[in-house]
Amino acid sequence: MSLVFAGVCSHAPGITGRADRADPEVRDAFYAKLDELRQRLEAAAPDALIVVAAEHFANFFMNNMPAYCMGMAEQYEGPIEDEEWLGIRRTEVPGNKDLSRRLIEAMLGEIDLAYAEEWKFDHGIMVPLHFLTPRYDVPIVPVNINCQGPPLTPLPRAYQFGRALRKACDAQPERIALVGTGGISHWPATPDSGTINEEWDRQFLERFLANDREAMTSYTDAETFRDAGQGGFEIRTFITVAGATEGATGELLFYAPIPIFAVGCTVATMNVQ
């Protein structure tokens, strides 16, 4: 089969961990759109879900930091964080080792992709799964792009990575769904937590939803850091999804800054052609 679904969403730990402190009206509207994303995902009937995430020093550290890594295990677990802190119970999450292996083999011709047979999911994957596969019954193929410890992969490379991922998916018999997850502008876990540059977010989203490769990959890291904070580096996950759906445009289901969640909360889909 091939890629049957593509979407993006936010993953900030506050979304579940500080849920009771958000304006209930905006929070519930956001949750409702996450649930719509879940319904659309389920309607695509995927055999596996690839989550392109930007983890936060749960498995990967500066002693040996891969620019790109894909999980290749039969099973994962998460969250690695304190369950109370994140508001998500620790659980086992099924993987699909054989599919991972085939995807990795297909991509290595173009991408120097690292792999990991051990992976403890942090909030970057667990928050999306909490909403999108709440019964943890869809096999997950985790992908990480280093968005935390510079030097980081250049944005055009993230787009190319998406293209290669798509090509690899289309060569498999399974129905594969893809979700990218990251912040847009945000300054997480710093004294500026809660600051959100809505104007920058909306401009990026416009570029992303139009699948304007040139425009969405034109930011330098210094510009992103200045205007969108260190959390803005995570646009690489969105850009990968755009690369995997090159030629298609997207649909914004939700965007609203929710400061106590420390991010402009976003839900969108990309059309898969």
Partner: protein, 103 residues
């Protein structure tokens, strides 16, 4: 300044229950394994979140150490702000990226 090792310790503390146990029961022995200045070692031992932030520890690591020490989210944010007030601006790491580029 050995920010790398401060962060490595927090990384391992966050992800490994066995390291957390050693941190409780055998702290000196554990800390001896990391290349730390006296100031860094003291900041870790005293749980000085504000100073660790000023030293340049990434918040994605630091917020979990703060939670491990029993601080609430608001206490964590306040501790970083207090640290900047007391010790001055962040000295290294990711948050000085623009400053480093200009030099």
């Amino acid at each position: 300044m050995s920010l790398y090792y401060v962060q490595k310790l927090l990384y391992q503390l966050n992800r490994d229950p066995a390291v957390r146990r050693r941190f409780e029961e055998d702290r000196d022995d554990l800390l001896d394994e990391y290349v730390l200045t006296e100031e860094e070692r003291r900041a870790i031992e005293e749980g000085d979140i504000g100073l660790l932030y000023v030293m340049g520890v990434n918040g994605q690591l630091l917020m979990h150490y703060s939670a491990l020490l029993g601080q609430s989210w608001d206490e964590y944010i306040a501790a970083m702000k207090e640290g900047v007030k007391k010790h001055g601006p962040v000295r290294g790491g990711l948050y000085t990226l623009l400053k480093d580029r200009e030099q």
